[in-house]
Assembly symmetry: C2
Homo-oligomer: 390 residues x 2
């Protein structure tokens, strides 16, 4: 039962995954908007663009050519944010005789490797246009890349070997983990979709950044999940959250046997969505064949509903959180597979929510409640709107 009072009053909600609060001001959407308008997405892209560096057969920035791939294709990012090899930097050495600097000017070197992964050979489509069966190869590729990058001593190593046996390799080639001395710690798989989310190429693709460090967000989540497990006699935060949301119903957008899709209680972005494994899946390699299909279905449901909501190609950033590439038994057990979607649009295809002054200086603020967002997303589950326009 929705708590009606929260539909009307300003309040803060707590995000137990990160341990932080956000401000909710449900009445605030009434204000008129005279600010920046996003360019509505023009869906007039060709199936193949000879100038696109992601299309099959085309040349990339640094001179390599893409194969004539059929569905997915992964390669090392030509402008990676982290690299495998670089000059040494020893923080202790640098600030050795400077106590203040060692406290206030702290740095750590970061190495790793970044990949780009296309979702389809077709330049003009998006996940929303793809059937679950067409999204499945994307999930299989994610799984194989994750599996092949696990550390030697990883608790999921046996699981990884199993899925590498089960899922056939990509006939168009695969990426190999770097042969570096120190192990990669984390793999962040994420997609920036749409110009509003800083995406510079509409060809459907995601990025995979692997680093020698555990980044802030998954680090915070692991710490919070670990604390919860400890306080709650071994129960998982997301296990309990799934149970609670299925019971309450009011934030459930979609579910199948393996995944729950909710506008989380603590959503910051107007139509933010969380896709959560219903059982204890620690990472991609834990998913069964059938669960991968259901995950594909969940992604399809989210992206199609997004596009239907304002009848536009809905911009968002999405990302997977799962067990680190190098971790203890304890950390692997604490991990609970889930996927975040952070879409900026608020009122229409052209009016977005800005997380700016107050949000940056004080605390995130949202205008509609997650329960109101859920109702809208539930209501647009039909066929992809562009189908009937074709």
């Amino acid at each position: 039962m929705p708590d009606k009072v929260l539909d009307d009053i300003s309040h803060r909600r707590y995000n137990p995954l990160t341990g932080s609060w956000l401000l909710v001001s449900p009445h605030r959407t009434k204000r008129p908007w005279q600010g920046q308008q996003e360019a509505p997405s023009k869906n007039k892209l060709p199936e193949y663009d000879p100038k696109c560096y992601l299309c099959p057969g085309n040349k990339r920035a640094q001179g390599d050519s893409n194969p004539q791939y059929q569905s997915t294709f992964a390669f090392v990012n030509d402008y990676s944010a982290v690299k495998e090899e670089q000059q040494e930097y020893n923080p202790e050495e640098v600030n050795k005789n400077d106590e203040l600097a060692s406290l206030l000017l702290q740095a750590q070197p970061v190495t790793g490797r970044c990949y780009v992964l296309t979702f389809s050979a077709k330049h003009h489509i998006t996940l929303a246009d793809m059937a679950a069966q067409e999204i499945l190869p994307v999930i299989e590729t994610w799984t194989r890349i994750y599996a092949s990058h696990l550390s030697q001593s990883h608790p999921l190593r046996a699981q990884a070997a199993k899925v590498l046996d089960q899922i056939p390799p990509n006939p168009d080639g695969e990426v190999e983990p770097p042969k570096q001395s120190h192990q990669l710690r984390y793999m962040q798989i994420f997609e920036n979709k749409g110009a509003a989310m800083g995406c510079s190429n509409p060809h459907p693709h995601c990025q995979i950044w692997t680093t020698s460090t555990l980044p802030e967000e998954p680090g915070k989540e692991l710490a919070q999940m670990s604390k919860y497990r400890h306080d709650r006699g071994g129960r998982h935060l997301l296990e309990d959250y799934v149970k609670l949301e299925i019971e309450k119903k009011e934030r459930v957008v979609f579910q199948n046997d393996a995944f729950l899709v909710v506008c989380p209680w603590w959503a910051v972005w107007p139509y933010e969505v969380l896709v959560i494994a219903k059982r204890h899946v620690r990472a991609l390699v834990d998913l069964t064949d059938d669960e991968r299909v259901q995950f594909a279905e969940a992604i399809q449901e989210v992206t199609r509903r997004y596009d239907n909501l304002f009848e536009t190609s809905f911009p968002y950033s999405s990302g997977l959180h799962q067990a680190p590439l190098d971790c203890s038994e304890e950390e692997a057990e604490t991990s609970w597979f889930h996927m975040h979607f952070y879409p900026p649009l608020l009122r229409s295809a052209t009016v977005r929510k800005f997380l700016v002054g107050y949000e940056m200086m004080a605390e995130p603020q949202r205008d509609i409640t997650p329960e109101q967002a859920t109702l809208k997303l539930r209501d647009c589950g039909g066929e992809l709107y562009r189908r009937s326009l074709e």
Copy 2:
């Protein structure tokens, strides 16, 4: 002396004010940009716009009219994110018999009041166009509003009374604190400048949101500063940081007797800047007459340099952090007055940095080092570029 290695390698830096890390990838600006371009700011605004709800004499959304004010004018936001009065909400009551919900569906009511404050009667100017003497009334108004909203028992109450005596009231009217039973906890003064930062009206103005709760960011900073003081025998984090940066020089953009302007070691935004009081100023009311002038000068230096950098009206969000409106002696003592500027532009008037997929899912990432940004900002201290175009 700049540590040259960090100009070339990927690394993480630690932000001691918030206790979090960010990724720095200095080599990454080499990648070509084919993504969204910001509209360059057209500086063809009239001095008075009859349709602007902030111009003197004009009617506002809810029917009130602005006075024929001369410099600054403050009023209650017609679409406030928080309100003084609303229905009651008792979290304990709501989740009384539901242990999981009381852990995972936590909410707190928030009340308060939001103001809008114009910087000038002229529609077409910005802080960058204003001389320090013209910015001074803005600081005086901030100070009076802060002073008049302090709690009865506030440790800075005597200071507040003093400045309310010293700074003459605004002849065009002043805002009064709400007469509510419970005290306001925090006042966040912030400016969103430019369409890219969600600003919907170019008339120069800021917002002031007061809330019954302490928001996340100032809360985190206070906790970190308090821990530092405790660990370091009473020394202040920002006291030590000011000392260190003046010694190192390489991140100093500008300074006068009272304020230091640096691109902080831990800057996330490309040209992020921190304005820090050199002595222990706990809040606006601690500033002397002369320090207010110097603060105006620091703001002038930052905003003018910003505009000169890419010869455009530089978008940013800025905000003040200082002692809460209601706080203990201890919390007031821990506070150290400073101002953040978060500007999104990266390479030119039209190419911005997007903090999206990786940044949202994993960790903030920046492309140029703060030391590189400092050099550029140091180099554009001359006259405002538009002056010579007039």
